[in-house]
């Protein structure tokens, strides 16, 4: 499973953000999503998506080894080992580690659950490995 994005298919609907937070936090709150849609209007008139590609930079820089890879290749933060220093968020090359008061100082990070790809209605977010089929 590998998150990929085709901007020309994106309608900016943010279903991905909603379903991410519902799945990972049981919360209706796109500010807790681990990916973010941005609109760029009126010029060039497109959407872009900031999302995690599981590059592992966060794990490399974490001073307490709080970030480790699970069996599916996702780098996950262990909240108990996290000291909230914020270095991972600073160093993230895609700027996709988010803070929210409800999560304390532990950043929100993509868990590679794949729900966003499952529920993107336009197929803009898709699985480059083909395990999850795009809806369109």
């Amino acid at each position: 499973m590998k998150l990929a994005y085709a901007a020309d298919k994106c309608s900016g609907c943010r279903a991905c953000e909603l379903v991410c937070a519902l799945e990972n936090f049981s919360a209706l709150n796109p500010k807790k999503a681990a990916l973010r849609v941005s609109g760029h209007f009126p010029v060039p008139g497109r959407y872009t998506l900031a999302f995690c590609d599981q590059c592992g930079t966060c794990a490399e820089v974490c001073p307490t080894n709080a970030i480790n890879k699970d069996e599916n290749g996702a780098w996950l933060i262990n909240g108990e080992d996290c000291i909230g220093c914020g270095i991972c968020a600073l160093e993230c090359p895609k700027d996709v580690m988010y803070l929210h008061d409800d999560n304390g100082s532990v950043p929100i990070k993509c868990t590679h659950c794949g729900k966003c790809m499952e529920y993107c209605p336009t197929g803009a977010l898709f699985d480059a490995d083909g395990a999850i089929l795009p809806r369109r």
Binding site: S11, G12, C13, R14, L18, L22, N29, K32, S38, F41
Partner: protein, 609 residues
């Protein structure tokens, strides 16, 4: 406590720049649901008789609903209301995009803006905190420039609603723009915002929206998206959106052409979905969580001049296209972009300019008076006149007062082809030979608008000359369609994709924790329908049957050509439709709700003493 709501009413007073909050009343959640229901209920409570639409006592009510911001497909709707400067009565308008989600995340179920600022302001709502920014530097700027500026100053994730020059200059059909192409379009809600010197409202929220059962809500949303995308109509309609109404409406002769002189323009396939997709559209643009994004973004073109814009939707294609004698989708897209930037309701603006074109062509008003020749088919002239209207220049200043006022001033019989009801310009259906649709327009609570009751299919299926069941149909539709405005979501999964509307009742339990039946939801709609009627009774002197009459053109003349050439109903037949409708509604022969009906709906407070 009923879940699914953000929790608070936020009241912002522009006189003293203070704000206050109060909890969303549980009784309102049960009796009015949210969205249009909260708007209407607050309106009755807060707007005193004698209030002037552009005076300091008018207020703007803005409300999401329990279904706003949900993962449920197409949940990005927000409702606005105010005393209308166009009609003097109840005015409201519904807007797509992403602002209803953001308001709920900021903790708000109802926003009330009252008083007047002394200088142009942008209201900033950051979770709970309200502040004001000086908007003088961009007060006269167009809507794209203003929203772009605020996104840059505050951040891309902020949701912004702005007015343009049309509202600033008091055009009575000025709209509110959001997200580069969504509008609270009709009844002059933008005009009211301009009268209060509010250039923009900017919102950011990061709170959880409470849900009774988040896992069940997620599952319901997943199932719903599956269902929407599997509908047979989905793959056919979604690529094109509402422009696919064009060939159907033209085929049955209901697409307004040249100021509603007929129902079909020659070469109408130059305006349809596939043509637009080929010549204009670059990407889809969707509202919150929509599986069936109808927004189409791309450039419009007139004589080599280019304007990026979202749409045009069927209504804009009808009023800025066929109604202006234009059958070139690129030109219509350009005119749509002009209206969006200026902050003009494209429906009213197209209607008014079409009237001006007919006045010119028939010699009622000379080119010198108009400022230039205004011929049907001349997109340049239309674009020029929209600017004149928005900036209050020349004849545009009169046109900015609406087609009813303009025709009253010009006189000479031009009133017979001023296509308005209650002072609101009629929208995109040439309905004189479709009795249920004509009745829909006559009895729409805000004036000549189609979106409360769309009954053209019913007229075609059951016969145009047949009056049986027509009033029943209109009453039913007037409960079903505005229910979406009340719940805070979009009706297109039903209307475009074919989802059975009663399934919407199923989502109340995972969201709010309360089980509702479809009939219980429709009762709320009936309550709101009678309430908005009583609001207009209270505020419009002499409101009654006379307010519900169709424009003279519809009972005097038939279409000049097309499939229904020469056909129309008589004033007596229009009266017959009204008689049937009032009887069904429990209203008296003047169209005023009877006390028994109001009591039955728990609207006893509306009964005149």
């Amino acid at each position: 406590m009923i879940s699914g709501y953000a929790g608070q009413t936020l009241r912002i007073n522009l006189n003293n720049r203070q704000s206050s909050t109060s909890p969303t009343p549980e009784s309102w959640k049960k009796e009015y649901l949210g969205g249009r229901g909260f708007v209407a209920r607050a309106f009755w409570e807060e707007i005193k008789p004698g209030t002037l639409p552009l005076g300091p006592e008018n207020k703007i009510f803005i409300a999401p609903g329990p279904y706003s911001g949900q993962f449920l497909s197409s949940s990005g709707k927000l409702h606005f209301g105010a005393l209308s400067p166009a009609t003097g009565g109840y005015g409201d308008s519904n807007m797509g995009g992403h602002m209803s989600l953001e308001l709920k995340q900021a903790g708000i179920d109802l926003l009330i803006i009252e008083g007047m600022a002394d200088t142009p302001v942008t209201i900033v709502i950051d979770n709970g905190a309200v502040s004001f920014r000086d908007a003088s530097a961009y007060w006269e700027s167009d809507t794209y420039v203003s929203e772009r500026r605020l996104k840059e100053e505050l951040g891309e994730e902020w949701q912004i609603a702005v007015i343009g020059p049309a509202a600033v200059h008091g055009v009575v059909y000025a709209c509110i723009q959001h997200d580069f192409g969504r509008q609270a379009g009709r009844t002059g809600v933008g005009t009211v915002m301009g009268s209060k010197k509010v250039k923009a409202i900017a919102v950011r929220g990061s709170k959880d929206i409470p849900l009774a059962n988040p896992r069940a809500a997620l599952a319901a949303g997943e199932k719903f998206m599956d269902a929407v995308m599997k509908q047979p109509g989905y793959t056919h309609w979604q690529p094109y959106g509402t422009p696919e109404v064009v060939p159907w409406a033209s085929g049955v002769g209901v697409m307004p052409t040249r100021n509603f002189q007929t129902g079909q323009i020659e070469g109408y396939n130059g305006l349809n979905g596939p043509t637009m997709k080929e010549k204009v559209t670059e990407i889809d643009k969707g509202c919150t969580s929509c599986a069936i994004p109808c927004g189409k973004w791309g450039p419009g073109v007139v004589n080599g001049k280019v304007k990026p814009q979202e749409g045009p939707e069927y209504e804009s294609i009808a009023l800025l296209g066929s109604n202006l004698g234009i059958n070139d989708i690129q030109q219509v897209a350009y005119l749509n972009g002009v209206c969006d930037e200026l902050g003009l309701d494209s429906i009213s603006a197209g209607n008014v300019v079409a009237w001006a074109m007919e006045c010119y062509e028939k010699g009622y008003v000379a080119a010198e008076e108009l400022g230039r020749p205004m011929r049907f088919g001349d997109a340049e002239a239309a674009a020029w006149m929209f600017e004149e209207i928005a900036y209050g220049r020349g004849f545009g200043k009169l046109l900015g007062q609406g087609v009813k006022a303009a025709a009253a001033k010009v006189g000479r019989g031009s009133e017979t082809f001023a296509m308005q009801i209650k002072g609101l310009e009629i929208s995109g259906y040439e309905a004189r030979y479709a009795p249920a649709m004509m009745l829909s327009y006559m009895t729409c609570d805000v004036g000549g608008h189609h979106n409360r009751s769309w009954a053209v299919t019913f007229d075609i299926a059951t016969g145009r000359e047949n009056f049986e069941g027509k009033a029943e149909r209109v009453v039913w539709l007037q409960h079903v369609r505005p229910l979406y405005d009340t719940l805070g979501c979009c009706r297109f999964p039903w209307v475009e994709a074919g989802i059975e509307p009663s399934t919407y009742a199923d989502f109340m339990e995972p969201i709010t924790g309360v089980k509702w039946t479809w009939d219980e939801l429709l009762t709320v709609s009936e309550r709101i329908w009678n309430l908005t009627r009583m609001i207009s009774v209270r505020h419009v002197p002499g409101f009654g049957r006379a307010s519900d009459l169709p424009p003279a053109r519809w009972t005097l003349e038939g279409h000049v050509d097309g499939p229904t050439a020469g056909k129309h109903f008589t004033p007596a037949q229009a009266d017959e439709l009204l008689d049937r409708y009032y009887a069904l509604r429990g209203w008296d022969s003047n169209g005023i709700p009877r006390a028994e009906k109001l009591q039955e709906l728990n609207l006893g407070f509306c009964v005149a003493k």
